[in-house]
Amino acid sequence: MSEEMKADLDLDLKGLLCPMPMVKVSQNIASVPVGGTIRAVATDPGSMADIPAWAKSTGNEVISAEKVDGEFVFMVKRLK
């Protein structure tokens, strides 16, 4: 799904260690409009739990979270 959608913001979080991928998504969410999306690519496996947990606890939405060729690709939608 993430490959088909054009995100409002692309974040390259490769090489960042947890919890920094979650921190970077959180720092950037305000820069997309409500309803807009961030496509984030991380390499730390901890992000697979961290980013969805952050989204749930802040009232945002992870549309997809996939492992692609050893990278973790997230589409995060700003809901408020």
Partner: protein, 430 residues
């Protein structure tokens, strides 16, 4: 702000008041020795970062609500209400502080300004003005444990990926990353990422240790946020796991504040004595090397190496020699910084500052003393057992072109261990 709300905020100070805090608030002689101890004040020369000035903001509320002179003649006795202006000043003072407690070390009365600023954070949270990012990170950690079944599979899948690298490095197809292992000696509490799990798993494997990995990460943003209840709940996640599994000790990864929370604060917060020991991973590794349970090549690192004492591990945690023992066991050219150990300068990255983007410029500026210390050693590698310190020093390395490599101690140990498996360098993010 309404009078009732200001009285409520002053009530937060009342709830936190005890004999020690009262002494800190009463005894400051304004000698300002602390100004030369604070890396942030020395680097910026900005009055608002002077430790005594930061504490003075809480002292002004104390005078207004807890002394008759301040109550009746506030202007004369520098007493203030916690109004919007004071709260804004408190925010800058409290959330900019890394909690390194170097000011306390040099204070003639040992005033713990970081403690006073924890009260400031409690007041700010009560006013709805706590730092948003730190609050979000704390809430995300609690959400993960409150809805654990939602995340368990993805967490375990991540462990399995790392386990493949452990098998490859050790050359042992049966090597594993055990989780939920009843009766293990050690519960190892890592960070969320692979970087703090892989090297420890290899070291435990080579030492033939009885261990199990916690489902939960050691990092505690509730502590940085300043919410003692959330901080305890975040630590409870792995402390309860340790009780359930009946381990003999909880071993905290290379993370400064997580170690201090677990070893120093948690028993007091929970009102319950631990049935197990709490140790830092470097205490364990030093013991393994000393006892011959693992081997490191003494000339594994020939480039000059220096060591940064994280404030929460060193000055506030009391661990000074074990990391140096480990580095000296594997590096032929170790160069200590000056000053070091309990007098070590804070790098500027603690207190959750690395997660607060609006403080990035200030944070890096406050690290100039640390950068000069590193330069003076001539070291090419700096090792430090704290994630926040390493992030800060990587930032200093980039911004000040120090030309150094920033490493965790466990990574150096892994490089120095003769392993039966793949000799190819495997990085935790591969």
């Amino acid at each position: 702000m309404e009078t009732q709300q200001m009285t409520t905020l002053a009530g937060v100070l009342d709830k936190k008041m005890n004999r020690q805090l009262k002494q800190y608030l009463d005894i400051c002689a304004r000698c300002a020795i602390c100004k030369d101890a604070c890396h942030q004040y020395v680097a910026t020369q900005d009055f608002k970062y002077l430790p005594a000035r930061r504490a003075e903001l809480i002292r002004q509320i104390y005078k207004k609500y807890f002394t008759k002179t301040g109550e009746f003649v506030p202007a004369l006795y520098e007493a203030r209400d916690p109004d919007e202006n004071l709260l804004d000043e408190l925010y800058e003072s409290a959330y900019a502080c890394t909690g390194c407690r170097r000011c306390m070390y040099y204070c003639p009365f040992s005033i713990d300004t970081a403690w006073i600023l924890s009260v400031a954070k409690a007041i700010l949270i009560a006013a709805g003005k706590g730092n948003e990012m730190l609050g979000q990170l704390a809430d995300a950690a609690l959400f993960k444990s409150d809805n654990f079944e939602m995340f368990k599979d993805v967490i375990v899948d991540g462990f399995k990926d790392i386990e493949l690298q452990v098998k490859e490095l050790t050359g042992d197809p049966d090597a594993e990353i055990p989780v939920d292992k009843q009766g293990a000696d050690i519960l190892y509490v890592a960070l969320a990422g692979a970087h703090s799990i892989l090297p420890a798993a290899v070291i435990f494997h080579e030492a033939k240790a009885s261990w199990t990995l916690s489902y939960f990460e050691a990092a505690n943003y509730g502590y940085f946020f300043g919410d003692a209840v959330k901080a305890r709940q975040i630590a409870d996640r792995f402390m309860d796991e340790a009780k359930r599994l009946g381990v003999k000790e909880v071993v905290i990864t290379e993370c400064g504040h997580a170690y201090r929370v677990a070893e120093i604060f948690h028993e007091a917060w929970s009102g319950e004595k631990h049935s197990f020991k709490v140790r830092h991973i470097l205490e364990v590794i030093d013991e393994y090397i000393t006892d011959g349970r693992i081997t490191v090549r003494p000339d594994a690192i020939t480039e000059p190496v220096t060591y940064h004492d994280p404030c929460q591990v060193g000055r506030n945690g009391g661990i000074f020699e074990q990391p140096r023992n480990i580095v000296c066991a594997l590096a032929s050219d170790f160069r200590d910084m000056t000053p070091n150990r309990e007098q070590q300068w804070c790098c500027g990255g603690g207190g959750g500052l690395v997660a607060i983007s609006e403080m990035d410029e200030f944070r890096l500026k406050s690290g100039t003393i640390k950068a000069e210390q590193i330069k003076a050693t001539g070291a090419r590698i700096i090792a430090s057992p704290c994630e926040n310190c390493r992030l800060q020093m990587e930032g200093l390395n980039d911004s000040m072109e120090l030309g150094i490599e920033v490493k965790a101690i466990m990574d150096l140990v892994l490089e120095a261990m003769p392993l039966a498996g793949s000799s190819a360098k495997v990085t935790p993010t591969d």
